[in-house]
């Protein structure tokens, strides 16, 4: 039988592709989100009803009136911001070294840096918890920040070392020849060229830190409560309460959405354009 020789995914297919992709989007993200929103307002929802039979603001009131929640939110924002900033500051030189210099045992160092991506946070936190106790870092904000860094650094280093590797050597030599010391060449050339990657990595780091539970719980709770830790108390062990769970999920989702929308606007106009040119 003759095979059709047309090129797949040409512009002729755009309509079907669009329909397919948008349906997938609705199915994977839209439907669960709608379910969560409905649940958060539901006052009784039993099969076979397609939407809740009655609505209430009771679940929202309960959680919003919790005074500890606002405090936990602020604390989480502070921690996530600090973790993001520190990840960038620590990852940049590390990634630079990994991308630029051949050194002995490079492979081993890379594996070591990336290991936390593979090891579950719970394992790390339990191991680190003992150490933090003796260092008096347990149950402190710096302790939580440090333990979260273990989880966020590998990604940042990975992203940065990939992008730093693409900066041509000649650019640095040109900067040196034009009178820049090695440090100023880094600040005036390498740093601006890394901004898109730093923003992308920063976003992922912020989200990861903001939503992180295991390690923050083990190192911080009960004295230092981040938003997820606080919210998870609403999901106590006696049974799954869909209504509370829905409110918690929505609260956790909000800041993340805000950060992404904001960053999307800033990046498109300004940063992406300047950094991603003909390197």
């Amino acid at each position: 039988m003759a095979r059709s020789s047309r090129i797949p995914f040409s512009t002729d297919d755009s309509l079907w592709l669009a329909i397919g992709l948008y349906s997938a989007l609705v199915l994977v993200i839209g439907v669960p989100l709608a379910m969560i929103v409905l649940w958060s307002f539901a006052d009784g929802w039993f099969p076979p009803a397609l939407i809740p039979t009655a609505f209430t603001l009771e679940h929202w009131r309960q959680i919003v009136e919790d005074r500890g929640l606002a405090e936990a939110t602020l604390r989480s924002i502070l921690i996530a911001t600090t973790v993001t900033a520190l990840s960038g500051v620590i990852a940049l030189p590390t990634a630079w070294a990994m991308a630029r210099f051949p050194f002995r045992m490079k492979r081993a160092v890379e594996m070591f840096v990336l290991a936390p991506l593979i090891v579950p946070g719970l394992v790390v936190a339990v191991g680190v918890g003992q150490l933090f106790l003796s260092l008096r870092l347990a149950y402190t904000v710096p302790g939580v920040i440090l333990v979260q860094l273990i989880g966020t650094l590998p990604l940042m280093i990975r992203l940065l070392s990939a992008s730093l590797g693409t900066i041509p050597e000649d650019l640095l030599l040109a900067a040196r020849a034009l009178g820049a010391s090695p440090l100023r060449a880094m600040l005036a050339v390498v740093l601006p060229l890394s901004v898109p990657t730093l923003v992308a990595g920063g976003l992922l780091t912020f989200v990861e830190s903001f939503q992180e539970f295991d390690m923050s719980f083990i190192v911080g709770a009960p004295l230092v409560e981040t938003l997820p830790v606080r919210l998870f108390f609403y999901l106590d062990g006696s049974g799954i309460r869909f209504t509370s769970a829905a409110v918690v999920s929505l609260i956790l989702l909000a800041p993340v959405l805000i950060v992404f929308v904001l960053a999307g606007r800033i990046m498109r106009d300004d940063v992406m354009a300047s950094g991603m040119g003909k390197l």
Binding site: P168, D170, L171, L173, A174, A175, R176, A177, L178, G179, A180, S181, R184, A188, V189, P192, L193, S274, G275, G277, K278, L279
Partner: protein
């Protein structure tokens, strides 16, 4: 003392010597080309001048100061890269101002120098553009302007035209030379392109295998090279063994021709295409095996005895067909190479 003096400059690695001890004096305002095949040591030489490779030995003086131990940012040397190396996150203006900011040149002086460079490099319409919005030739002009604003004691060029197409290369070659004269700076230009070297330089430094083979004006190196390497690398030539005496030489195919030396005994001759005029002659010593029409001249491949030669004739005459017998008439005394000993293989 010369503007740039290089004495015994050496670079060696654990297992190899990249540059044997090299001396070179360059006067203020000279345009010097380092010419050689890739791997001849010219890039190493340039990197040491710029300060990004440390010499294993020797010294460099520039404008009266010894600079070989200085980091690149302390040397007043600017460089134009083969890849242009424009900063992609800065506009043309930002690129031009970069070095001036790094060297903390006063604002008014910055503006004066940038305006000057923009004018002489014809960059007026492009100052606000980003490098990626410029063509290759425009990018190269920005790179050049960025170097000129530094008013360097020495301007280095690392094969700056080799990423451009042939036509543009020729135009920029002339622009570059005009600029060099206007700015009056001292320039060292690295290339493997002999046409570039010959058409631009005051002097050419021919390099091979980590050594300077020969230094001289383009005319001297082309007409009267001392070494086989220079003769072969600059333009076309056929190296022929001959027996010399009394200003004449007996060529392998039996003919006698005048030479430019009083040497006697076995010598090696460099025969350029323009040295020999092929003339149709049924009793001639050579047979035309083919020709190359170049527009301004015709190059004939001639077999004389067992030697393959190239002879040239003006293109206004109809080409001599392949297979014809020709006599070879010498237009000028043939050049005798210095290192004549041994076979001219």
């Amino acid at each position: 003392m010369a503007h740039l003096r290089i004495a015994g400059l050496t670079k060696s690695f654990a297992d190899a010597v990249a540059l044997h001890p090299t001396d070179l004096d360059v006067e203020q305002g000279e345009f010097i080309t380092l010419l050689g095949p890739s791997g001849c040591g010219k890039s190493t030489f340039l990197r040491m001048l710029m300060g990004i490779a440390a010499p294993s030995g020797g010294a460099i003086w520039l404008a009266g100061a010894r600079i070989d131990a200085m980091p690149p940012e302390k040397r007043n040397i600017a460089m134009v890269f083969q890849s242009y190396a424009l900063f992609p996150h800065l506009s043309v203006l930002g690129n031009l101002a970069f070095g001036l900011k790094m060297k903390k040149v006063p604002k008014a002086e910055q503006e004066r120098r940038i305006a000057h460079a923009v004018r002489i490099c014809n960059l007026g319409p492009y100052v606000a553009r980003m490098p990626r919005q410029l063509s290759g030739g425009q990018q190269q002009r920005v790179a050049l302007a960025r170097a000129i604003v530094m008013e360097p004691d020495l301007l280095l060029f690392d094969e700056p035209l080799s990423n451009l197409d042939a036509k543009l290369r020729e135009t920029l070659r002339e622009e570059l030379l005009t600029l060099h004269r206007r700015v009056g700076g001292t320039s060292i230009y690295v290339t493997h392109d002999q046409d570039e070297a010959m058409s631009m330089s005051d002097r050419i430094v021919v390099m091979n295998e980590g050594r300077v083979v020969e230094t001289g004006t383009p005319f001297d190196l082309y007409r009267a090279p001392r070494s086989r390497f220079t003769a072969r690398f600059l333009g076309r030539t056929t190296l022929v063994d001959a027996l010399a005496g009394k200003g004449m030489a007996r060529l392998p195919w039996g003919q006698m021709m005048p030479i430019d030396s009083a040497a006697s005994g076995p010598v090696a001759l460099s025969i350029r295409p323009e040295d020999l005029d092929p003339a149709l002659d049924p009793d001639g010593a050579g047979v035309v095996t083919g020709f190359q029409f170049l527009g301004s001249a015709v190059f004939y491949h001639v077999l004389a005895g067992d030697i393959r030669l190239t002879a040239s004739a003006p293109a206004r005459e109809a080409p001599i067909p392949a297979g014809s017998r020709v006599a070879l008439i010498s237009r000028a005394p043939l050049h005798v190479l210095d290192d004549s000993a041994g076979a001219a293989s």
